[in-house]
């Protein structure tokens, strides 16, 4: 796909045309919004600043496809998948220890599948192609540099960096990513908000497919996703490792203020993870294919912006629609789900002839009713717990030491009980049992 979607890139934009909607950003949110609008018969232009959809995008492991079921029947027969994730592993580590909870399911390797690894250049181009097939006009290599307004301050389109490049529309759907300058210009997002963002850095490494199969215990198009806690030298965040067809992707996610304060360079932490005794054997001989970095909105439900203003709605990363802190790490599915809901809400607003903030309010109401905001609301306290000092800096060592105590045979000394081991490990890592109990209860309240 990718560059073959370029034909419209060199087309001159007709400044006189007025669209029902201009969608900014051809990632999963924008593609979904454009798809919903085009299928509803609305005129829609999808503007992408990169040379092809996905060219500016990076993700961290798994795309969960259930959200595609309702719009692309049997999508798994055509999606550009790398591998279907049949092993989902959560690893807690210190510099010299690790504990894994490793789940494997044969069902996840068969239709209708659960999660897949993919390359965003291929996946996002495929999705945007669905919107184009439905009648959306894709314009690549074009930056939306600002908003256009009417005399009352309602948004009426975007300015682009093409000559005569103003695009007028009843509604602007801002799916312009984590740095959303359109949402910032509209006053929906703060100019900068380091506290609620993490930096993801990722290396994609070449490794022969047969070697991946052997080292990760899979075959054919089966894949593995490993999520890791305790690999970031105490900087709140985590690590990930997942398999593609002929490459593996490995990286870390780092809280921005703590990264800045630590004065540690991000690629050093990826190097740490790759050198860990539990990870290094998986990557032996692998060579760097591509290095990448991207921000992730991490604030969850409580920092989500207002999702609509007069003549504009916000979806995807631009609206903080990811959940990167917790035992579920998802984003692409939230982007797609929110974009779809945005497109449908804009269609209803245009049908009623009211695309003011009030006329667009059904967007948020729709999200509240489905997983996009229901999940976010339920897990609103997850970022606070998962990124807390104890979970990030003390529990990985505590858990590993507890396991070491459980499985180290101390003959002739009799085995210590689990409670005594817990006490010892907790004391060694400066954790009070009261704190351990309270965090456990908190985790059960959030995730239970």
């Amino acid at each position: 796909m990718t560059e073959s979607l370029r034909p419209t890139a060199d087309r001159t934009i007709n400044p006189a045309a007025t669209y029902d909607a201009v969608v900014v950003g051809a990632g999963p949110a924008g593609a979904a919004a454009a798809l919903a609008l085009a299928r509803a018969g609305r005129s829609v232009v999808l503007v992408e600043r990169g040379p092809f959809p996905g060219s500016k995008n990076v993700y961290g492991g798994v795309v969960y496809g259930r959200v595609l079921d309702q719009v692309v029947p049997r999508w798994w027969e055509e999606v550009p998948v790398e591998r279907w994730v049949v092993r989902r592993s959560t690893m807690v580590m210190t510099g010299t220890q690790s504990l894994s909870v490793d789940y494997r399911s044969e069902a996840w390797g068969e239709a209708p599948f659960n999660g897949m690894t993919t390359l965003r250049s291929a996946f996002d181009s495929w999705l945007a192609g669905k919107a184009v097939d439905a009648g959306a006009e894709l314009v690549t290599s074009t930056v939306a540099t600002g908003l256009l307004y009417d005399v009352d301050g309602a948004v009426t389109g975007v300015r682009t960096d093409r000559p005569d490049g103003d695009l007028r529309a009843k509604v602007v759907v801002a799916c312009d990513g984590v740095n959303s300058f359109l949402a910032k210009e509209a006053g929906l997002l703060p100019r900068a908000d380091a506290a609620h963002h993490t930096l993801g850095v990722k290396e994609v490494l070449d490794l022969p497919g047969a070697t991946i199969d052997e080292r990760f215990g899979v075959s054919g198009d089966q894949g593995v996703d490993i999520e890791i806690l305790g690999c970031t030298r105490g900087i709140p965040g985590g690590g990930f490792l997942y398999t593609n067809r002929h490459t593996v992707s490995v990286g870390v996610v780092l809280s921005l203020p703590h990264l800045a304060e630590s004065k540690i360079r991000p690629e050093e932490l990826v190097a740490d993870l790759k050198a860990h005794p539990s990870i290094a054997p998986l990557l032996r001989g692998a060579t760097l294919r591509e290095y990448a970095a991207h921000l992730i909105p991490e604030g969850g439900y409580d920092t989500m912006p207002a999702l609509a203003t007069d003549g504009m709605v916000v979806a995807g990363d631009a609206a903080g629609m990811t959940r990167a802190a917790g035992i579920w790490l998802e984003g692409v599915n939230f982007a797609f789900g929110s974009g779809l809901a945005a497109g449908r809400a804009v269609d209803r607003a245009v049908a009623r002839g009211d695309w003011s903030a009030a006329g667009l309010a059904s967007y948020r109401a729709g999200l509240e009713r489905q997983f996009v905001l229901a999940d976010h609301q339920r897990l609103r306290k997850a970022p606070g717990l998962v990124l807390s000092e104890r979970v990030q800096q003390r529990y990985p060592g505590l858990i590993c030491d507890l396991m070491e105590g459980m499985f180290t045979v101390t003959n002739p000394t009799p085995k210590p009980g689990a409670l005594r081991l817990t006490r010892t490990a907790a004391a060694r890592h400066g954790v009070k049992l009261r704190e351990l109990a309270s965090d456990t209860a908190r985790a059960l309240r959030i995730f239970g």
């Binding site: 060219s55 500016k56 995008n57 740095n179 850095v201 105490g234 360079r265 190097a271 060694r428 890592h429």
Partner: protein, 111 residues
């Protein structure tokens, strides 16, 4: 494990070959379509009064270099367009951040 709360970096004890990739080699794996316009500019006179200069270590592309007179030298050409620099910057107006012109800048093929 010691009583310390931060796990020791394992890298120190590992052979160089696991760590060893020069930063230039790392960046050479990325497709940058460099435009003529600098999409990010730095007001170095503001940076001279900055005590943290967080951009210098946090930028994943290592594009911010401190200068002898206490300012910051910035090279826009191999930028991931991630936004880390302006997010961690403490000083309004020090970093002016826009996207590169359409079609230019970083192109991820394996993102």
């Amino acid at each position: 494990m010691s009583a310390g709360t931060v796990p020791a970096a394992p890298g120190g004890a590992t052979p160089d070959r696991w760590r060893g990739i020069a930063f230039e080699e790392r960046m050479a794996t990325v497709d940058f379509r460099v435009g003529e316009r600098a999409h990010i500019t730095v007001a170095s006179e503001i940076c001279r009064s900055c005590t943290t200069q967080a951009c210098v270590t946090a930028c994943p592309a290592d594009l911010f270099a401190p200068t002898a007179d206490g300012g910051i030298l910035f090279n826009y050409e191999e930028c991931f367009e991630c936004g880390t620099c302006y997010m961690v910057c403490n000083h309004d107006g020090a970093i002016t951040w826009t996207y590169p012109d359409g079609g230019q800048g970083v192109v991820f093929h394996h993102g």
